[in-house]
C-alpha cells in the first residue's frame, strides 16, 4: 500500500518515548506496523533514548538484584498470564483486521448514526482516550463536528476525503479543536477506520444537538 498521510512527528516521538495514552498508542502503533518510513523515524527516537540511558546517572540496584534475576532465570515455569485460547466471543464489525488488532478485546458493536457503526476496543489502562473501530457506509457524510480533545484516525479499508485530502488504507488523519472537518466516505465501498479519541465530539446544528446524548463515541 502507498501511504500518503502520516502522523505528525511529535506524536511519533511521544510514541517512541512511551508517553502516549494507550488508545493513541494503539493507533500510531498499528500505522507503524504498516509504514516503513514512520518505523525508521521511531527507531531514530529510540536511538536517542538509548543514548539517554547510557548517559543516565546510575542508581544503585538492590543488593540481591542480580541474584533475584538469576533465580528467575533458573526457575522457568511462571511466565506471564497465558493468552486466552478462546475464540473471540464478540462478533467483529470486520474479521479482516490487521493481525495485531485481532489480539485486542472488543466490546459490543453499536449503531451510532445512520450508516455509521462503531465497536469499542477494551483498553483497561486507557486514561484520557478511548479506541474503537468505526465503520461507515459508502457515501456517508459525517455530521459537522469539532473536538474538545484529539482524534487519531487510521484507515484500514475503503477511503474518505475532506479538506485535508484523500485518505486510503494506511493513511493517518489527525484532528483536534482547531480542525473542523466534514469527511465524506468514498462511494465504492464502506470505510473501516481505527480511531482513538480523547475529549468529546461537539456536534453542530440542531440535529447534532438532539443526537448527542445518544451518540457516545
Amino acid at each position: 500500500m502507498t501511504i500518503n498521510h502520516h502522523p505528525p512527528e511529535d506524536l511519533l516521538a511521544d510514541f517512541a518515548a512511551g508517553r502516549l495514552d494507550e488508545a493513541d498508542r494503539l493507533v500510531i502503533g498499528v500505522h507503524a506496523t504498516q509504514c516503513p518510513r514512520c518505523r525508521r523515524f521511531i527507531a531514530a527516537i529510540e536511538q536517542l533514548a538509548g543514548r539517554a540511558i547510557e548517559q543516565a546517572a546510575p542508581v544503585a540496584m538492590a543488593e540481591d538484584a542480580l541474584a533475584t534475576i538469576m533465580a528467575a532465570i533458573d526457575e522457568p515455569g511462571t511466565t506471564s498470564a497465558p493468552a486466552s485460547e478462546d475464540a473471540q466471543p464478540v462478533p467483529l464489525l470486520d474479521d479482516d483486521l490487521p493481525e495485531i488488532l485481532l489480539r485486542c478485546r472488543f466490546g459490543k458493536s453499536r449503531r451510532v448514526a445512520p450508516g455509521v457503526k462503531m465497536q469499542p476496543i477494551v483498553l483497561p489502562g486507557a486514561d484520557k482516550s478511548r479506541a474503537f473501530l468505526l465503520w461507515s457506509a459508502p457515501g456517508t457524510r459525517m455530521l459537522e463536528h469539532s473536538h474538545t480533545g484529539t482524534e487519531l484516525t487510521l484507515v484500514l479499508k475503503g477511503s474518505f476525503s475532506h479538506e485535508g485530502g484523500d485518505y486510503r488504507p494506511g493513511d493517518f488523519d489527525f484532528g483536534d479543536g482547531e480542525v473542523d472537518h466534514q469527511p465524506i466516505v468514498g462511494k465504492d465501498m464502506p470505510c473501516l477506520c481505527l480511531v482513538a479519541m480523547s475529549g468529546d465530539l461537539q456536534m453542530h446544528g440542531w440535529l447534532g444537538r438532539l443526537i448527542s446524548p445518544f451518540v457516545r463515541l
Binding site: 500500500m1 508517553r19 504498516q34 525508521r40 523515524f41 527507531a43 527516537i45 536517542l48 506471564s80
Partner: protein, 199 residues
C-alpha cells in the same frame, strides 16, 4: 420524591438482609426477589472490570451462584448486604479478567513488528536501525540534547525555555525543525541505501 439513591437506605438494607437470610434457607422465591433488586447494582460493579456484555452476563451468573451458595454465611452484623454482594461480584470479575486477553507487554512488543502484508518495500527490512542511528548521530549536539530533554525526559517547553534563555515559541520551533531534520534523514537515508543496493 427521588427514587432509590440516598433516601431509602435503611428499609432497603433490612429488606436485603431478610432476603439473604431466606435465601440461606433455600428459599428460591427470595432469591428471585434478591436478584431483581440487586442485579443492576452488581452489573455496574462488574462493568469497569469486565466491560463486554457477553462477559458481564456470564459473570453475573457466576456471582449470583456464589451468593446462593454462601447466603447462609452472610453476617448482617459485620457488613451491609449490598457491600457483601458487590465484593463477591468484584472478585468474580477480577478472576475472570485475569485469564482473558488484554494488552500486556507482549502486545506492546507485537506492535513493533512490521506487518509484512502491508509493505512491499524490499529495502526496508532490517535497515531501519542503521539509518535511524545515523540520523541521530548527524544532529548537532545541542539539538540532540534538546530533543532528548523534551521527548525522552519529558521536560516541559517552559522549563526548556528557561534553561536556554529563549521564548517558548523558539523552543517549539527548534524542536519542530529538529524532528523534521531527523525525518528527512530517515527518508533520504533509505533512498541512498536503496540506490546503493540496486547498484
Amino acid at each position: 420524591m427521588s427514587y432509590g439513591r440516598s433516601t431509602a437506605r435503611d428499609p432497603m438494607i433490612e429488606r436485603l438482609c431478610d432476603l439473604l437470610a431466606r435465601v440461606g434457607r433455600g428459599d428460591q422465591r427470595a432469591f428471585a426477589e434478591l436478584f431483581a433488586a440487586t442485579r443492576n447494582k452488581l452489573r455496574k460493579t462488574a462493568r469497569p472490570i469486565a466491560p463486554t456484555n457477553a462477559d458481564l452476563d456470564d459473570l453475573l451468573q457466576d456471582a449470583y451462584l456464589k451468593i446462593w451458595k454462601h447466603a447462609a454465611h452472610f453476617d448482617p452484623g459485620r457488613s451491609s448486604p449490598i457491600t457483601w454482594m458487590c465484593a463477591i461480584m468484584r472478585h468474580t470479575a477480577i478472576d475472570a479478567a485475569r485469564l482473558k486477553q488484554v494488552p500486556t507487554a507482549d502486545f506492546d512488543e507485537a506492535l513493533s513488528v512490521p506487518d509484512v502484508s502491508a509493505s512491499e518495500d524490499a529495502f526496508d527490512y532490517d535497515l531501519a536501525q542503521p539509518i535511524a542511528a545515523r540520523a541521530i548521530q548527524r544532529l548537532p549536539d545541542e539539538r540532540r540534547q534538546l530533543l532528548s530533554r523534551a521527548y525522552i525526559e519529558g521536560e516541559s517547553r517552559m522549563m526548556l525555555a528557561q534553561r536556554f534563555g529563549v521564548p517558548v515559541g523558539t523552543i517549539k520551533t527548534w524542536l519542530r525543525r529538529t524532528l523534521e531534520t531527523v525525518r528527512r534523514d530517515c527518508v533520504e537515508g533509505a533512498t541512498r541505501r536503496a540506490m546503493v543496493q540496486s547498484g
